[in-house]
């Protein structure tokens, strides 16, 4: 650590890191997941979560929508406290917020393609107010306006509606391009590693989804985003293999090393495994005494926790058997 960082970082991040060190001890332990899995019904799960920081967010939840709303509120508060008030450099905050803006852009385009009201598709976690996404393109911030223009050019069927099937890949490609710009601006080795991992995880997700929907190889080439440690050509060649073999090889490649190969065959399990894998990298940030990394690490671990809770609570409400849920949460537990 340089002499300047030794003085500046504790002054800038000391308070947030101090809080994070205590809050890390309040993350949900495996025993809480066990109790949640063993609970008879949602009321009992809510009671168990009442003893945790999620109690206040879920006390009025009775169904899927309420759970989603409660967990989103938990993330919103997390963002407000640790991205909004922790003195993190602007690119680090933008790295988290921008993905939600693109999520909303995706919602806006999908709603248009399907001819539905976009309200339910929007999240309030981005940097841009939700209302902007319901209005004309001119109201969007320049970054999103330009991205939308390029996306439309790529997926608009001549004189026809948007190709809804291609919205996801086109928006993801724009999102990763925007994130790559942010990472270059941040000049943070930690964020660069994280971005490469996220690109690999995003590609792995596209891989699994493509296989589940029997998307032909030719279509998949455009769905893999750049920026990961695993070259796109390698992903395409693996895509041609039988799923189990492809998953095994993928789990031994680049930054996906350490992911359970079975999680690479099941999208539900993959989402949890991906968050846990990301959190594993992020956990190395705990070894850094002071700086933005421990704060980012905590934010990401909490996001992984929310994903696990969402999988568990909504899965249980939908009647997914306990053993299936347990398998999906294996990486957390």
């Amino acid at each position: 650590m340089s002499a300047t960082r030794a003085i500046v970082d504790p002054i800038r991040y000391g308070f947030a890191v101090g809080r994070v060190r205590v809050l890390e001890t309040r993350m949900l332990p495996p025993s809480t997941y066990e109790r949640l899995l063993d609970a008879r019904d949602f009321a009992e799960r809510r009671r168990i979560l009442g003893e945790t920081i999620y109690g206040g967010y879920l006390e009025r939840a009775h169904h899927t929508e309420g759970i989603e709303r409660g967990l989103e509120a938990a993330i919103a508060d997390l963002y407000a406290e640790f991205l909004g008030r922790a003195n993190l450099p602007e690119p680090l905050v933008a790295y988290f917020r921008t993905r939600h803006d693109f999520e909303n852009l995706k919602g806006r385009l999908k709603a248009e393609a399907l001819g539905i009201e976009p309200g339910e598709l929007f999240t309030r976690l981005g940097a841009t107010p939700v209302e902007v996404f319901s209005g004309p393109a001119e109201g969007l911030p320049p970054l999103l306006r330009a991205a939308e223009r390029r996306i439309r050019a790529a997926i608009e069927v001549a004189d026809g509606p948007l190709d809804v099937e291609r919205v996801d890949e086109a928006v993801d490609a724009e999102l990763y391009a925007a994130l790559a710009d942010i990472v270059a601006r941040a000049k943070s080795p930690f964020l660069a590693t994280l971005f490469a991992l996220e690109a690999d995880l995003g590609n792995a997700r596209a891989f699994i989804r493509g296989r589940a929907r029997n998307v032909p190889v030719a279509r998949m080439e455009g769905r893999f985003v750049p920026g990961g440690r695993i070259p796109r050509a390698r992903l395409v060649s693996l895509y041609r293999l039988p799923l189990a073999e492809a998953a095994a090889r993928l789990a031994a490649t680049g930054s996906l090393r350490g992911v359970d190969p079975e999680a690479l065959t099941d999208l539900e399990r993959f989402d949890v495994a991906a968050d846990v894998h990301r959190a594993r990298l992020v956990r190395t940030s705990r070894l850094i005494a002071i700086g933005p990394e421990p704060v980012l690490g905590y934010v990401m671990e909490r996001l992984a926790e929310v994903t696990a809770l969402r999988t568990l609570l909504i899965g249980a409400l939908a009647g997914v058997p306990r053993e299936v849920l347990r398998a999906r949460l294996e990486d957390v537990m």
Binding site: I7, I11, G14, F15, G18, E24, T25, A289
Partner: protein, 162 residues
């Protein structure tokens, strides 16, 4: 004695040394305490029960300021400032000035780095109460060198005064 070195008389050099020691130690302590206090307030915000365990860590970089203060006080005592009987040759005053430098520099640097070390130690206390004792040891190691510098300064001054 009217002789001067670089325009400063003996007592001027002695005052200069005392001031540098007090300033160096004070700066080190002020920055060190600020560093660790930021993290400590974060910890106490989330868990007020940790106040007692974390306070020694926050106070630890304060000792460098005390060493600077002691050094300045010794200059005043050894060379008769309080007694109003100041009579130091210029070269002797210059020696007093040099005698003050170990405390001035080492305490300034060690105070800052002790604060930086204590930030990590505060993280240990935040996670596990029972590590509070161990957490004190690492910043205390930095203290060693501040103590050595004070000892060297005192020995040099005893030699000059004797």
């Amino acid at each position: 004695m009217n002789e001067t070195i670089m325009g400063l008389s003996g007592i001027d050099w002695a005052y200069f040394g005392a001031a540098v020691a007090a300033i160096g130690g004070g700066i080190g302590s002020a920055i060190g305490i600020t560093l660790v206090s930021n993290a400590a307030t974060g910890v106490v915000t989330e868990d007020p029960d940790k106040f007692g365990r974390i306070l020694p860590l926050a106070a630890m970089p304060g000792t460098q300021g005390i060493y600077g203060f002691i050094t300045a006080l010794l200059v005043f005592i050894f060379f008769g400032v309080f007694a109003g009987d100041v009579d130091i040759a210029a070269h002797e005053g210059l020696r007093v000035f040099f005698a003050c430098l170990p405390v001035a520099f080492v305490c300034m640097i060690s105070g800052i780095y002790q604060g930086a070390t204590a930030v990590g130690a505060a993280g240990m206390v935040a996670r596990r109460d029972e590590d509070a004792g161990k957490a004190l040891i690492f910043p205390a190691l930095v203290e060693t060198y501040a103590v050595f510098s004070l000892i060297v300064t005192i020995i040099m001054m005893l030699y000059i005064a004797g």
